[in-house]
Symmetry: C2
Subunit: 95 residues, 2 copies
Amino acid sequence: MKQYKIFVTGKQGIFDPAGETARHALDNLGYIGIENLRIDKYIQLDTSDTVTAEMVKEMCEKLLANPVIEDFLIEETVMTVAEEAAEQTKAEADE
Amino acid sequence: MKQYKIFVTGKQGIFDPAGETARHALDNLGYIGIENLRIDKYIQLDTSDTVTAEMVKEMCEKLLANPVIEDFLIEETVMTVAEEAAEQTKAEADE
């Protein structure tokens, strides 16, 4: 199994209303020293071993990100059999 | 300046409609081997040096995450003066 972490972030200069609203709300709660706050997307994709990083890039370009206003960064993690088993056990324990 | 990266993710068992929709759309586009897809929030927070990780945790609990249905993970990066200058130059070049 492979795990991809994809960070989809607004391009420089694109307004981020959610981030701006959160920043104002933090100001109103009395937090000082916040210089910048952006809220973007964090996608976790679990795939079979046949899915390559190149395919994930294509998925981002076609569907997961909007290339006009968003950039994306893909991080790949290949899970070992032991890690997969641990993950499985954890998921079962959580249920 | 400090930079915090905050990952706000749905708790185990909480339905993620955006992720589910994207997964179906990828299926329809002909991608096979997608086992799981979650879309969560990735928050980048730039603050002055006075803002501590403890304060950021409090901000998450109060405002940035919903502790009933979401978990959060905070990563702290302290930027050196040189990195800050590089960031500044980059931001100016992008404008």
